[in-house]
């Protein structure tokens, strides 16, 4: 079904937005934006932990082994927070977006069933791994961690399959607007699936790698330049630095796919009001009253990037039917998010190249170059910013649709009750949980530094049987 077909039975005036639409969108954005920061740690920190673990076992490297053990404790806390905030999202799908679940649950919903399977495996093997220190033979214990990484891969694929389906719905037969047949393989492996999945999966490794490296870079800046800090830093940074060029290549390919398959999103990304060729690449700027103001224009670049020649025609926002055209504000947000994503990626790439240069030519400078360490310790935050803006591009870029061409976001939202108290409570609760998580992790690190591991209680670990309950 094309957008034009859909419009024949969607003839709602633009001012008919239910009052629940705004709080629902903001709440979903906030909770998803919170959860997505935890995803890289469930998906990729566990792999970093296994890399360190493998090195520790293979080469008898005690520092690497200690890193693996401590990372597993950090992963335990973050995995718990990720598990519960992920559960809230499943409730929100029903509470905030009943129209989506009611009409398309039979197609949109089942990739989550597959994801549930992977999440189950992940939860079981994370517990086994964390609890298995000192309880299992070393290599058997190591292999208990491998399913965690694999389940992270499968889980990411499944969640992204559902999201990609909203961008490029496929595999359903409709009769009078009702889904009467589903072709599961087409739903799961829809047109946007492979690249979007790859993009998110690599992003998880980049974010986890840079955040981990950033922690040890900050430690080295404070004078802790021992081997433990260097191994921790290099393990994280190297993984992220290797992944980054691949990610930029994938991102570039996706942009061309969006150009071909999701023209409305591409027009918003390029902040292009009118269809034309020789489209300049606009950096920054705002769209107001259908015109681009401010911003830096690089002639022909957008056309060149989209079709490899300056004469490439790009559809502007005017090509989108007026009723389903993103607002000026939405297009500006998408455009800025895209610019921030690309800009931060190249910033990170520059630091990664710096790292490579130091690694090959002046390895002794790696731990002593203060400016490099300062930049490296900022990379974690920059990578999170990059991840968030990429997510804004795909989600806001789809508006006003929740399922492109099939269902408008305003038709999917709950129409009963006042959602503000729910949103308010969520805001307060998540702020508290986020602050407490940071606080708890910092306290753990401080304790490790001051008292070593033996004195520190282990979350989910066997030592805990010795020291339990409140200490007064």
């Amino acid at each position: 079904m094309t957008t034009a077909d859909a419009l024949t039975y969607l003839s709602i005036p633009a001012d008919a937005d239910p009052e629940q639409l705004f709080p629902a969108r903001e709440q979903m954005a906030f909770t998803l934006g919170f959860h997505i920061i935890l995803v890289p740690f469930g998906v990729a920190l566990t792999t970093l932990m296994l890399i360190a673990h493998h090195r520790g076992l293979r080469k008898g490297d005690t520092e690497a082994l200690l890193l693996a053990r401590r990372w597993s404790k950090v992963a335990a806390v973050l995995f718990a927070v990720g598990a519960v905030t992920g559960t809230v999202l499943s409730f929100e799908l029903g509470i905030l977006w009943p129209g989506l679940m009611k009409n398309y649950g039979s197609a949109f919903g089942f990739p989550f069933a597959v994801e549930g399977l992977f999440f189950f495996l992940e939860a079981i093997f994370v517990s086994l791994y964390i609890y298995g220190w000192d309880r299992m033979r070393p290599w058997a214990h190591f292999w208990c961690g491998v399913p965690v990484s694999l389940a992270g891969l499968g889980g990411t694929a499944s969640v992204v399959a559902a999201n990609a389906w909203m961008n490029q719905p496929a595999g359903i037969t409709l009769e009078h607007g009702k889904v009467v047949a589903v072709r599961p393989a087409e739903v799961y492996f829809n047109g946007a699936f492979w690249l979007e999945f790859l993009h998110m999966f690599i992003a998880a490794y980049i974010v986890a790698g840079f955040v981990v490296a950033g922690v040890y870079a900050a430690g080295m800046l404070r004078g802790r330049r021992d081997r433990y800090h260097r191994v921790g830093f290099v393990t994280g940074f190297a993984v992220a630095a290797y992944a980054l060029p691949v990610q930029i290549l994938v991102g570039d390919t996706i942009a061309r796919q969006v150009f071909g398959d999701e023209p409305a999103k591409f027009a918003a990304i390029e902040l292009l009001p009118t269809t034309s060729s020789h489209v300049p690449e606009t950096l920054g700027g705002v769209l107001a009253d259908g015109e681009v103001r401010y911003g830096l224009k690089i002639p022909d670049l957008a056309s060149l990037l989209a079709g490899f020649r300056p004469s490439t025609r790009i559809d502007g926002l005017e090509a989108v039917p007026a009723q389903v055209r993103p607002t000026d504000a939405e297009a500006t947000v998408v455009h800025w998010a895209f610019d921030i994503m690309v800009g931060t990626s190249f910033l990170l790439l520059a630091v990664a190249l710096w790292f490579t240069w130091l690694w090959w030519l002046r390895r002794d400078r790696l731990a002593t170059s203060r400016w490099f360490l300062r930049c490296a310790s900022a990379c974690g935050v920059v990578a999170v910013l990059c991840l968030e803006s990429g997510w804004v591009v795909t989600e806001v870029g789809r508006q006003p649709w929740i399922v492109v061409g099939h269902l408008l976001t305003r038709d999917a939202v709950a129409t009963h009750g006042n959602l503000w108290p729910f949103f308010g409570t969520v805001l307060a609760l998540y702020s508290a949980v986020g602050a407490a998580a940071v606080w708890v992790l910092r306290a753990m690190a401080r304790r490790w530094r001051q008292q070593g591991d033996a004195a520190a209680p282990v979350p989910y670990g066997p030592e805990h049987e010795v020291r339990e309950g409140p200490v007064s």
Partner: protein, 337 residues
């Protein structure tokens, strides 16, 4: 096909009830364990028995949700647009509970532990109450087929409150029974008696509320009452028998078969509800068949459930076994008695 998916859904509900239910109940006893010094020993036992398994147990909820929304999407939307208050509270309760528990484990200072512990324990009581009341709303037919039922009276009514209170009590009983057995295994006589008494009290209370609940259902949901006393009577009687057997074993301070008896009683009650409700998903107005997704989706769900049976169950068993295993480097062996 819809029936098969329902069976798998109900197996998930029972697993969630037996495993996560006990985790919720442990939070109930954590809440009542008293001050930091007095409650130290029971809280330590609760911590040690929950920590390795609660996330895996929690995952059964995700399993039930995804099967419900993919397999019966219209009924799912009807439920969420009607019971959004208890469902929203339950979701927030789950966040508080998980975060509180995870943070308490890694905190050393008593005031912090108190704060996180209170968040964990209080939400462990609130969440099962909400789930129980949603079950009551569903069973008593107060969720309209198109959704958007009354946001308050749909679950704040005799059946909903009965469901909520019963859920809290049953969770508490299950937890007390499991913790009694764990305390005995560790050879801790004080904690054994501590949880034995609480198991008895909560068991008697849960039994009394269940018996009284029959009359509530008779007045409030005649069809369910009729089916419980006819079609599902064998299950109901067996459940009562299991519950009684558990109480007798607790009274005799005998742990062999204790967990099995209590778990069987709870599973049979849930099963009895399912059988009485069949073939309807919502009250008596939406049947499973009406609400079911196209066959291909149901097929995927059956496939997922089968793969779960092949992959998840052995992994879970491995986890439960390793948790009870002593360390490889000569840590104290598990005590049996």
């Amino acid at each position: 096909m819809a029936n098969l998916v329902t069976v798998f859904l109900f197996l998930g509900v029972i697993a969630y009830g037996l495993l996560a239910g006990a985790d919720f109940g442990a939070g109930f006893w954590d809440l009542l364990a008293g001050g930091a010094r007095r409650g130290r020993a029971p809280r330590a036992l609760i911590d040690a028995s929950l920590a390795p398994v609660w996330e895996a147990n929690h995952t059964w909820l995700i399993y039930c949700l995804v099967i419900l929304w993919s397999g019966f999407p219209t009924a799912f939307a009807a439920l969420t647009t009607t019971c959004y208050i208890p469902l929203g509270v339950a979701a927030l309760g789950i966040v508080l509970r998980g975060a509180g528990f995870a943070f308490r484990k890694v905190s050393l200072r008593t005031p912090e532990q108190r704060l996180y512990g209170a968040a964990f324990a209080a939400s462990s009581v609130l969440t099962p109450f909400c789930f129980g009341s949603v079950a009551g709303a569903l069973a008593s037919g107060r969720v309209p087929a198109g959704g958007g039922g009354n946001a308050l009276t749909s679950w704040l009514n005799p059946s909903g409150v009965l469901g909520g209170v019963l859920a809290v009590l049953v969770c508490a009983h299950l937890a007390a029974v499991y913790l009694t057995v764990t305390a005995r295994r560790r050879g801790d006589g004080d904690l054994f008696r501590y949880f034995c008494v609480r198991g008895l009290a909560s068991g008697v209370l849960a039994g009394a509320v269940s018996a009284g609940g029959i009359f509530v259902l008779r007045a409030d949901v005649p069809r369910l009452f009729h089916n419980l006393t006819h079609r599902s009577l064998p299950l109901v009687l067996l459940a009562a028998l299991g519950g009684l057997a558990g109480l007798v074993l607790l009274r005799a301070e005998e742990v062999r078969g204790l967990r099995e008896a209590a778990a069987a009683a709870v599973a049979l009650v849930l099963g009895g509800w399912g059988v009485s409700q069949y073939p309807y998903l919502l009250g008596t107005h939406v049947s499973l068949q009406d609400a079911a997704s196209p066959d291909a989706t149901l097929g995927v769900l059956v496939g997922v459930a089968c793969v779960a049976g092949v992959l998840i169950l052995p992994s879970l068993i491995l986890l439960f076994r390793v948790v009870g295993r002593p360390g490889v480097d000569g840590r104290p062996p598990r005590r049996r008695s």
